[in-house]
């Protein structure tokens, strides 16, 4: 132990004696460990501890999917839920929930609030204790008794100023009175985005509905049951459902996913894993950098090592000294890394718009907690050991005895040492190539999806969402009247070029879909028979700037009492009518209402996750009226200047109707691609740090090479070499490192992007501009990093150099 203390003391003194080299190593480690810590913190919040749910790994989210689409995840009909709750032996409790956009009134302006209707089993599944009051019980799930409500902690804080006397208070939601019975614990943002939970109280008959795919299901595994067992059990359930309900359940199977994976949305877990892999790359790059610096130190201390060996030190003891030095460096790097992480987390927090936070379970716990700091400590220890490996391996192989000879020339040739150092820096730079290319492809992907192929500028359009409560708009005629009145008011506003409504705008992240049946053909239920269904006002295509390719647009005469009509997208026509025009043909969307196709619209990519435009059927909103819909207002100037006029128009149409998600269309598109933008910006930052570390590595290697070859440069100059030739000599070495790094890095990047192709949208994972641009930038940067050592080489004084020893 005293020997270790001694090693620590000597190491500290040695590191302090060479502040520049020590600072370079600490900086590299601080960047690697710091960014790793910050990203682990994000992973910890979103992936590892997203919800304060006990034994979260026992909780599973259950959906349905088409057999041919493994990534598909659909809501569940009530009939399936009823079968599962009555028959499952692998789950101890199964809960259902359904989103509810409610209008909150009675406290100032009407407010649109997203909540969820859940059954009481939800609280058994989550095994939660209320922060305040109680949760509602199974007895309160029955119609007529369903007047209790549980508030989310965030809503309680925001809307009720965390009033401890909230329990027992009455609130109005979409015209109904509810009594607050409790408050959810802090940090429980589930179901995602829900700010209150109300009982899912349906008449018994409603639970037999097999055709409405409306429920989200979560369940807790029984003790001793495993997820594979549950999957097998649910396969048998879906087979039974397919036999019982062939029209809706053919080719459909259950999809059971751990809650942890889906708590933050479909792609979140995958993106977080990409970030973790990227930071591990970065830590490895930092380690290789420090290993190189350490190796240079050890080589410079070759004689000291030999003397220690001659004084009786074993190789293990010498290696221990090197390891202690590395660990000391990594400990200093970790301390500085924690500061770096704290700064990076501030930056990451600033990236997330406040309104997004409730969609990111766990985000409130983002920070340097004990799990994150344990990760920091482990990363630092691993970095210390990894960065000592190369120097220790060299010490183990090298013969130290020649260093003791008077000349001090090692028989371990400069070539061998140089090769090891160059290998380390080549490996480091090739990892940076992979990270840079990955980051560049992700940034390109984000750039490619950040826009729609429509003629009207999304920056000159305002959007908002409305959800008309059933209590005040009980039938579709009332909702249709509201829509017409609203559109008339909006179109009359000065500065408005057009106004339209649509069930879900492109880029909004939501859409309804249905199975298409073509007249004269048998009904199909495979993935190829699915189309999106949108209800639109006649002005939609004009307002959006989406051309109509053939046929006619809807007009006000397409009403409730006229023939039902549809416009289809080109992708729809290609899928269902590849050989002829679809105009005049009839289709229905599973409900038996035949629609005559009267127009053909250009394609539009509805969601950035779609590789290609999907088939879309547009129906007149007057014939198929939805109570929840998006509104689009095209403006001739800055859309934000029209926000209050738009609010007034809604208020004038119905004073009790709140406006939800009022923002420019451009902002809506950016919000929907926020996840990939977040990942792209973090990866871009990691790529920049990786590039910096590589340049640092190449610079230090070239600086060592130049120092070691001073005598050679002196001889060359004495023999008549021009200084430019020395410059080229050094630059060429740097370019050779770049070439070797690219030779290793490019195929590796190709392989990594092949694995990540599911997360890249809008561009090819093997985007040529990235695969050509990154090598060009890297080569130029590496050449620049060699310039200072190369310039030093040209300044060699032959007289001094020839005395150099």
């Amino acid at each position: 132990m005293s020997g270790l203390r001694e090693d620590l003391r000597i190491s500290w003194r040695r590191l302090a004696a060479r502040p520049a080299a020590s600072a370079a190593a600490i900086l590299a480690l601080a960047l690697g460990i710091g960014f790793s810590t910050a990203n682990y913190s994000v992973a910890d919040a979103i992936l590892f501890h997203p919800l304060p749910v006990p034994d979260i790994d026992r909780v599973v989210v259950i959906g349905l999917r088409l057999e041919a689409s493994p990534d598909d995840f659909r809501s569940v009909p009530p009939a399936d839920f009823s079968l599962w709750t009555s028959s499952s032996r692998t789950f101890q409790s199964i809960a259902a929930d359904r989103r509810w956009f409610a209008t909150f009134t009675g406290s100032g302006e009407p407010l649109q609030v997203q909540g969820a209707l859940v059954n009481a089993a939800f609280f058994d599944v989550m095994q939660l204790r209320p922060a305040l009051g109680r949760f509602f019980t199974a007895e309160e799930e029955h119609p007529g008794h369903d007047n209790s409500i549980v508030l989310n902690y965030h809503l309680w804080e925001r809307q009720f100023a965390a009033d401890p006397a909230i329990v027992g208070r009455t609130v109005q939601l979409s015209g109904r009175s509810f009594t607050v019975c409790g408050v959810l614990p802090k940090g429980l943002n589930f179901p995602r985005g829900a700010e209150f939970l109300a009982p899912l109280a349906w008449e018994p008959g409603a639970w037999a509905d097999s055709s409405s795919f409306v429920l989200h299901v979560t369940a807790r595994l029984r003790d001793g049951a495993s997820l594979p067992q549950a999957r097998a059990e649910f396969d048998s359930f879906t087979r039974a459902s397919a036999a019982q309900y062939p029209a809706t359940h053919s080719h459909v199977t259950a999809n059971l996913v751990p809650l942890r994976e889906r708590a933050s949305g479909g792609h979140a877990a995958g993106y977080i894993r990409i970030l973790i892999a990227a930071v591990l790359f970065l830590v490895l790059i930092a380690c290789l950098n420090v290993a190189n610096l350490q190796l240079a130190r050890i080589l410079a201390r070759g004689r000291e090592m030999a003397v220690r060996a001659a004084l009786g030190a074993s190789r293990l003891r010498i290696a221990r000294q090197v390891l202690v030095e590395s660990l000391l460096l990594s400990a200093a790097g970790a301390l500085l890394g924690v500061l770096t992480a704290s700064w990076a987390l501030d930056y990451i927090r600033a990236l997330i718009p406040p309104e997004f936070i409730r969609f990111l379970p766990g985000w409130s716990s983002l920070g340097l907690n004990r799990w994150v700091l344990t990760w920091t400590a482990l990363t630092a220890a691993a970095a210390g050991i990894l960065s000592a490996l190369a120097p220790v391996a060299w010490l183990n192989r090298a013969s130290l005895a020649p260093s003791l000879h008077e000349s001090g020339r090692s028989s371990t040739t400069g070539t061998t040492r140089g090769r090891l150092r160059t290998s380390l820096v080549v490996f480091e730079t090739s990892l940076a190539v992979v990270l840079l290319i990955g980051a560049a492809v992700m940034v390109r992907s984000f750039g490619a999806i950040d826009g729609l192929d429509v003629s009207n500028d999304p920056r000159q359009a305002l959007t908002f969402r409305l959800s008309l409560p059933e209590s005040r708009y009980p039938g579709s005629a009332a909702a249709a009247r509201f829509q017409n009145d609203l559109l008339t008011r909006l179109q009359a506003l000065p500065g408005v070029r057009g106004a339209a409504i649509v069930s879900n705008l492109p880029g909004s992240g939501s859409a309804n879909s249905a199975f298409v049946t073509v007249e004269g053909r048998p009904a199909e239920r495979g993935p190829g028979a699915v189309s999106q269904a949108q209800s639109i006002s006649p002005s939609y295509f004009h307002t959006l700037g989406l051309p109509l390719v053939e046929g006619r647009a809807f007009n006000p005469s397409d009403g409730r009492d006229t023939a039902q009509v549809a416009i289809v997208s080109q992708a729809f026509a290609r899928r269902f009518f590849p050989a002829a025009s679809p105009l005049g043909r009839r289709v229905h969307l599973g409900d038996g209402n035949w629609l005559t196709i009267v127009g053909l619209a250009a394609d539009v990519l509805h969601d950035y996750g779609d590789r290609h435009p999907l088939p879309i059927v547009y129906r007149p909103a007057a014939q198929f009226t939805w109570n929840s819909f998006d509104a689009l207002v095209a403006t001739s100037g800055d859309p934000s200047s029209l926000a209050s006029a738009v609010r007034r128009a809604v208020h004038d149409t119905d004073a009790a109707q709140p406006v939800y998600l009022l923002r420019s269309f451009d902002r809506l598109l950016r919000d929907n691609t926020f996840g990939i933008a977040f990942v792209a910006s973090i990866l871009a930052a990691l790529g920049a740090v990786a590039l910096f570390l590589s340049l640092l590595g190449v610079y230090s290697v070239m600086a060592c090479v130049v120092a070691e070859r001073t005598r050679e440069f002196g001889v060359r100059l004495a023999l008549g070499a021009r200084r430019a030739s020395l410059l080229w000599l050094v630059l060429r070495s740097g370019l050779l490192i770049a070439a070797a790094s690219l030779l290793l890095g490019l195929p590796a990047a190709f392989a990594v992007l092949h694995l990540l192709r599911g997360f890249i949208f809008g561009v090819s994972p093997y985007d040529l501009s990235v695969f050509a641009g990154v090598p060009a930038v890297l080569s130029a940067a590496l050449a620049a990093a060699c310039l200072l050592p190369a310039w030093r080489a040209t300044r060699t004084d032959p007289i001094t150099a020839l005395r150099y020893e």
Partner: protein, 224 residues
């Protein structure tokens, strides 16, 4: 008297392309306990190489090496190190003090490699500082000492672990004659106290301190 060191047909060479360049050639040598042997020869003759073979720093050679009847040529690195730590001390021409350590710390280094307790080590170092009359310099770094003082510390470091045999590679090569004489007197005294000494030197004056001179030319030991 039985030999302490016995070399039989020791060869050492470097491969240079197809050629072998021999540094030591069929070296056969016996050194008895308590002997003071000087190794002499021209530059490049293989003197230092022979010393590093004896000191087991160099293990890339062929032939037989018996130390107190133990076949060094058959032992693994760990066992050789154990023998070295128990019996050997080494003095270098260029002193090779560790620059980052003070005089006292330099003297402590060989002891720290021999698993001696800290308190015991401190006592030994204090004793050796006193014996070499360098107590006042114990907290100085090597760069703050003259060449003679550095070599004095080098010799003190070589004997601090109480070795039975001291190997010295041109110990006065970098010193003025008066400083050299002081070091040689120190070796003489150590030899009289029982230490076996093998010293590489170019100096006939220094060689005169030895009981026996071994001459080496082009790797061959001349007939004694």
């Amino acid at each position: 008297m039985k030999s302490m060191i016995s070399l039989r047909n020791v060869d050492k060479y470097f491969q240079q392309g197809p050629e072998r360049f021999y540094v030591l050639r069929r070296v056969t040598l016996d050194i008895k306990p308590g002997e003071f042997v000087a190794v002499m020869g021209p530059s490049g003759a293989g003197k230092s190489t022979l010393l590093h073979v004896l000191g087991m720093h160099d293990t890339a050679w062929s032939g037989e090496y018996l130390f107190l009847d133990q076949p060094i040529h058959q032992l693994d690195r760990k066992k050789r190190l154990e023998i070295y730590k128990k019996y050997f001390g080494f003095v270098f021409q260029s002193y090779h003090l560790l620059d980052d350590l003070t005089v006292a710390e330099n003297l402590d280094v060989p002891l720290s490699y021999r698993d001696i307790k800290k308190s015991e080590r401190q006592a030994i170092v204090a004793d050796i500082l006193d014996r070499f009359r360098i107590v006042g310099k114990k907290d100085l770094f090597p760069s703050q000492l003259s060449g003679g003082q550095q070599q004095l510390v080098g010799v003190a470091r070589a004997i601090v672990a109480n070795p039975k045999i001291i190997l010295a590679d041109e110990p006065t090569g970098n010193l003025h004659s008066s400083q050299g004489a002081e070091i040689m007197e120190m070796f003489k005294q150590l030899n009289e106290e029982g230490a076996t000494i093998v010293m590489v030197t170019h100096s006939e004056t220094n060689a005169a301190y030895a009981h026996r001179i071994v001459r080496i030319v082009d790797g061959w030991i001349e007939q004694q």
